[in-house]
């Protein structure tokens, strides 16, 4: 038996773990944590073995499809893209689960926690190995509902249940766009097949969709007087889904609030199981984006904008977890930008973007778990009350600093010296440069390089404020237990060396995703359909461009050292509430006010819903009025009000007799 035959177990085991933990967890020690940990360990081992096997035998892409209902199927597809995703998700999730045993040990709803995180992981793994777009959507929604349950884990806290609602509804806006894209795609394919789909053909399977890209691209719809290709509409709707799930502007608002759940949940959401889904969706359907005029440009611009937009807010936040949340949004923007620059570099974009996704998962999980370790020990996440934590928690401090360097992207160009984040963020920025030089669109590059400066600034601000200097309050604290520091150390090792060790292999491996025995995509031909001009990536950027990311990262480090380490500037005077820029940033560009207070409450609830309510009262009133009129007008009909059923029976019979006569008359006339 080949290892690939076990691929279906990867999501299934954690799903079973969910059921077992949910019903039996209360009776077991630690809330039954051992069940999901065992299940995810096996999932990880299978994923890793499949990945190793695919590395050696690239032609052994796993695809198993089974008929589900009507003309739809469920199935398993493990190609290089899915394989690396599965490995990362199962590994990070496993480490977070182990860490949670210690972190959640005092919570009385432990079993519910482990059940829900198991389902969360199962959904994400199911999403990664879907062989068709509908199954991906299903898992996508399950991921969403698990995040809802976990963000609202402490549901008796109003802020938690409110944050959960916000996350669910905001991502739902994106989900509907995604669903709309699937619906349009389905009907296009249905037409291409003229409504008769042969047995064994599943039209929503990725290979089937990709095969028909040119035909879908040839269909046009007229929107506001513009001829728009269906492939553009579909891909932009898919991207709409990705905007919601991956926290891109303007649907990112749920992500910073999502820290209301346990910190381990934030780690899961931010690193492995939720926000990466959007990036994965765009990567998975990349051939469609390649053939869609303007879609990739939208992805690139929006990604670059989100990267800098979120970074500006990251600088002013005082909450440890909030800084990290904005950092996630910003880094997701980089991943989207990485995919968007496919407009210039073709399928290689998938490689660099997913590489950043994986590295980010490692260092972001690490950042959150370190934050959790600090919060667990000192009981606050307000950085203004911390300081000097490095002395009491040396392991946490060291691992967090490694993660910070990885996030800021420290590394020396053209060598193997660098933190993981460097090897993935650098290529994205370089590709953005290439995109600029080949198309003349420089904005994404400029935004992304500026965002890199801000990234370094906010993360070292966090490091200096939390770990160095003198304690600002008497918080006590101690180093966390081994069950928490061991996962930290493993992740720190990954954040330190994973990038350097795997980079070349990784690009080559993932770039084979669209050329194997499952799908054979001719990327340049698709680029022609999409109207993109692919540039050659020969690495003749000027020296300055090559070193620029490192220069800005170092600059960011120095500035935060000067301000927050040496305190050469008194920040307290700068950040007064009267500073309009600070106010704008600290209030998150007033998006909360616009979305919640205005759009949701005023427009939808008080506007539409109550207008509808008034209309409905109108209908009701009319109906009552007609019946009152009838009742009043007939003396004989007064008995209606007595509710005697015989009266109705008599009326029915009389009425029927009358109707028969009537209809006879009508028949004669006609």
């Amino acid at each position: 038996m080949a290892i690939g035959d076990l691929a279906f177990l990867i999501p299934l085991l954690p799903a079973l773990a969910f059921v077992l933990t949910f019903f039996l967890g209360k009776k077991l020690p630690n809330g039954g944590a051992i069940i999901p940990i065992a299940a995810i360990t096996i999932s990880f081992v299978i994923s890793l073995l499949i990945t190793m096997n695919l590395l050696q035998n690239p032609e052994e892409v796993i695809n198993q499809s089974y008929s589900w209902f009507a003309i739809l199927n469920i199935g398993v597809l493990v190609d290089p893209l899915a394989a690396v995703m599965l490995t990362m998700v199962s590994l990070v999730s496993l480490l977070i689960h182990i860490y949670s045993v210690g972190y959640m040990s005092h919570d009385r709803s432990q079993s519910r926690y482990f059940a829900e995180t198991a389902l969360f992981t199962a959904s994400m793994l199911g999403l990664a190995l879907s062989d068709n777009i509908l199954q991906l959507f299903i898992c996508w929604e399950l991921v969403g509902v698990c995040s809802y349950l976990l963000i609202g884990f402490w549901y008796e806290k109003p802020s938690a249940s409110s944050a959960a609602k916000k996350a669910f509804l905001t991502t739902r806006v994106g989900d509907v766009m995604f669903l709309a894209g699937i619906v349009i795609l389905f009907s296009d394919l249905f037409r291409i097949f003229n409504g008769t789909i042969p047995d064994g053909v599943y039209i929503l399977r990725f290979d089937e969709i990709f095969t028909h890209i040119p035909e879908i691209a040839a269909m046009n719809a007229n929107i506001l007087g513009m001829e728009v290709s269906h492939i553009t509409i579909i891909t932009l709707l898919f991207f709409g889904g990705a905007i919601g799930k991956s926290g891109q502007f303007p649907l990112h608002v749920w992500l910073p609030d999502a820290m209301e759940g346990p910190t381990t949940v934030s780690a899961l959401i931010h690193a492995a199981t939720m926000v990466t889904a959007g990036v994965y969706l765009v990567a998975r359907t990349f051939p469609m984006f390649m053939a869609a005029p303007s879609s990739l440009l939208v992805v690139a611009y929006l990604g670059a904008f989100t990267a800098i937009f979120a970074a500006t807010m990251g600088i002013v936040m005082n909450d440890l977890k909030r800084v990290l949340a904005y950092s996630t949004i910003s880094q997701l923007g980089y991943m989207m930008l990485g995919l968007g620059v496919g407009a210039a570099i073709g399928a290689e974009a998938v490689g660099i973007s997913i590489f950043h996704l994986i590295n980010h998962a490692f260092f972001k999980a690490l950042l959150f778990l370190c934050a959790g370790s600090v919060i667990h020990a000192v009981g606050t996440h307000d950085m203004r009350q911390l300081g000097g934590v490095a002395k009491v928690m040396p392991i946490t401090a060291v691992t967090m600093i490694i993660a910070a360097f990885s996030l800021a992207g420290f590394g020396i160009p053209d060598t193997i010296f660098g933190f993981s984040g460097f090897f993935s963020k650098d290529p994205i920025i370089e590709s953005a440069y290439l995109f600029g030089s080949s198309s003349g669109m420089w904005i994404p590059y400029l935004l992304s390089i500026t965002a890199a400066l801000l990234t370094s600034l906010y993360i070292f601000r966090l490091v200096f404020m939390t770990f160095f200097g003198k304690p600002r309050t008497d918080y006590g604290g101690h180093e966390s237990p081994a069950s928490m520091t061991v996962p930290l150390s493993i992740l720190a090792l990954l954040a330190l060396v994973a990038g350097a060790l795997t980079r070349t292999t990784f690009y080559e491996f993932v770039s084979e995703t669209f050329v194997n025995d499952f799908v054979q995509m001719d990327i340049p031909a698709l680029a022609d359909i999409g109207g993109y001009h692919l540039a050659s990536h020969a690495g003749h950027e000027p020296m300055l461009i090559l070193w620029m990311p490192l220069i800005v990262a170092v600059a960011g480090l120095l500035v935060s050292y000067l301000i927050y380490g040496l305190k050469v500037v008194n920040m307290d005077s700068l950040v007064s509430r009267n500073n309009p820029v600070y106010k704008l940033l600290y209030n998150r560009y007033y998006q909360n006010a616009i979305y919640t207070d205005f759009l949701s409450v005023k427009v939808i609830y008080e506007g539409f819903a109550f207008a509808g309510h008034a209309i409905d009262r109108g209908f009701d009133w009319t109906v009552n009025w007609i019946s009152d009129l009838m009742i009043e007008s007939g003396e004989a009909l007064r008995q209606f009000q007595t509710g005697v059923i015989q009266t109705y029976a008599t009326a029915v019979i009389a009425g029927v007799g009358l109707l028969i006569v009537l209809i006879k008359v009508v028949m004669e006339v006609i």
Binding site: F69, A70, L134, F137, I138, E141, L142, L149, G152, Y155, E156, P158, S161, S162, A164, K165, F168, L169, R172, V173, D175, V176, L179, A180, I182, V183, I184, F186, S187, F190, G195, S600, I604, Y605, F608, A609, F610, G612, H613, D616, F619, D620, V623, N624, S627, F640, Q641, G643, I645, Y648, V652, G655, V656, L659, L662, I663, K664, V666, M667, I670
Partner: protein, 495 residues
């Protein structure tokens, strides 16, 4: 062979009569349980022997009744009716169990009315003769009327009368349509017949286009008032809300309006004089219902009324999918009826439990119930998720089939329906947040979680919602078979 359909229809009616003579609650509920379990066993037997690969009527029984008028006692069931009989047969025993420990006045009449409704509703799904069909159709009205007017809430009299008169007028219009069809066919063939399959097949030969459209519209009106969809829904929120919990669940089981759409309306549709106009009417009413019901649900302060309006929204999918005229959308619409029955029964049970223990259903007056009612909270979250169309639960299968299938022919209407999805999510999630989560409202006093019988009945239906969400084929296959047959008719007529 065993006259199995007759048994399924007559056992509940017979037991209804017998239950009237019981003296105590204990006797009445046992009678009701025996009858509903008997129906369930027989239905499962029928289901196992049902061939889902053919679209014909099965388990047919036919006896002459009034030959001079062409009335026969004709029963039979196809892939449209079978899942709905199954739905009723599954839910009713659990409904009896759900009410097991309740105390109420006149339990003998209460359980008798439940059984009478079950018999009448299944009768509609089994009837293949319009006379019989109409008798059962009207028979559903009477027990429900009493159910609301005796055991209902504060506004029960108004709600009961409104429900009765409104849907009765619609039934009369439907009857006009039946007569139109009956007399037209009589004139053409020279022999009277009220046989449903025969009349449906003769519709196309009616000479006058105006007559055909009038018959069609009369029937359509009768059915859509019963579903109900916008703008003929105003009896529904009152009736659903004022009814006792069991009555609300019975209303949800009353899928006869939608059944009529698939059984009668769609086979006639291609032969009307202006099929495209009819499709537009159906699609528009369906799409508007979806979004209108969603906004109205958002505006409600009473949890049960919110659920009632959400039902209007969900039923819009039935009409939209039927008008979509692709086998996927039509079968999805049929599946929506089945799935909606399961989901809504738990929703109403939950509303009932909350009202009993907390003394109110006003969402803002509740709060933090999950802390006191953890079992109900789990079931409610699952059901609310099913109701808002979460994948992995039965509602999604129906909605995605309707949306994807209908988009082929009716893109703009589907876009309207898609817009409603966020609103639908919003009122569900918001209600959960306010009623179940957050800080417990101490003013509510002592709150008790659902009892064992309630947990069992709600839990099993919830498990079915999950089961059909992953494996819809056991009922969807037969729906598909019949949908394909309907669509092949359309193709012949070039609609």
């Amino acid at each position: 062979m065993l006259p199995i359909l007759s048994l399924i229809v007559l056992i509940p009616l017979l037991f209804a009569a017998l239950t009237l003579f019981t003296k105590t609650k204990e006797q009445a509920r046992v009678m009701a349980l025996v009858a509903t379990v008997a129906v369930l066993v027989l239905t499962l037997y029928m289901y196992i022997n049902f061939d889902s690969t053919i679209a014909d009527n099965q388990f047919e029984e036919i006896y002459q009744w009034v030959p001079s008028l062409g009335i026969n006692y004709h029963l039979g069931v196809d892939g449209i009716g079978m899942p709905l009989i199954l739905l009723n047969a599954i839910v009713l025993p659990f409904l009896i169990l759900f009410t097991w420990n309740d105390d109420r006045k006149a339990p003998n009449r209460f359980y008798a009315l439940i059984l009478a409704t079950e018999g009448a509703v299944i009768g509609v799904f089994a009837a293949l003769d319009f006379f019989l069909f109409y008798i059962f159709w009207e028979l559903t009205l009477i027990p429900l009327f009493f159910m609301v007017s005796i055991w209902g809430g504060p506004g029960k009299h108004h709600a009961a009368i409104k429900f009765f008169i409104y849907t009765h007028i619609a039934s009369l219009v439907m009857l006009l349509g039946i007569f139109g069809l009956y007399f037209s066919a009589w004139e053409m063939t020279g022999t009277p017949s009220l046989d449903i399959p025969a009349l449906l097949s003769q519709f196309q030969f009616i000479g006058s286009g105006v007559m055909k459209d009038l018959i069609f519209l009369a029937l359509l009106f009768g059915f859509i008032v019963k579903i109900p969809v916008f703008p003929f829904h105003s009896w529904q929120p009152d009736a659903y809300t004022e009814a006792p919990t069991a009555g609300s669940v019975l209303f949800v089981m009353l899928k006869i309006g939608g059944y009529g759409i698939f059984k009668v309306i769609l086979p006639l549709l291609p032969f009307t004089a202006s099929p495209n106009l009819m499709i537009t009417i159906m699609a528009a009413l369906g799409a508007v219902s979806i979004i209108y019901g969603a906004f109205l649900a958002l505006a409600q302060s009473d949890l049960k009324r919110m659920v009632a309006y959400s039902s209007v929204s969900h039923m819009g999918y039935v009409l939209l999918g039927a008008a979509g005229l692709v086998s996927l959308s039509v079968s999805g619409a049929m599946f929506q009826q089945f799935s909606h029955g399961l989901i809504m029964s738990i929703m109403f049970m939950a509303c009932g439990v909350i009202n009993t223990t907390a003394g109110t259903r006003i969402i803002n007056d509740l709060g933090g119930l999950a802390q006191k009612m953890p079992k109900l909270a789990v079931i409610m979250v699952l059901t609310f998720m099913a109701s808002l169309g979460l994948p992995g639960l039965s509602g999604f299968i129906a909605e995605v089939s309707v949306l994807a299938g209908s988009f082929v022919n009716l893109p703009s209407y589907v876009i309207i329906a898609l817009l409603a999805i966020v609103i639908t999510a919003a009122y569900h999630i918001w209600a959960l947040q306010r009623a179940m989560f957050g800080v417990f409202n101490e003013k509510l006093g002592t709150i008790v979680d659902i009892n064992g019988y309630q947990t069992l009945s709600m839990g099993i239906i919830a498990i079915l919602i999950v089961y059909f969400g992953w494996n819809p084929s056991p009922v969807l296959d037969m729906m598909l078979t019949n949908s394909e047959q309907i669509i092949s008719l359309m193709a012949v007529m070039g609609v």
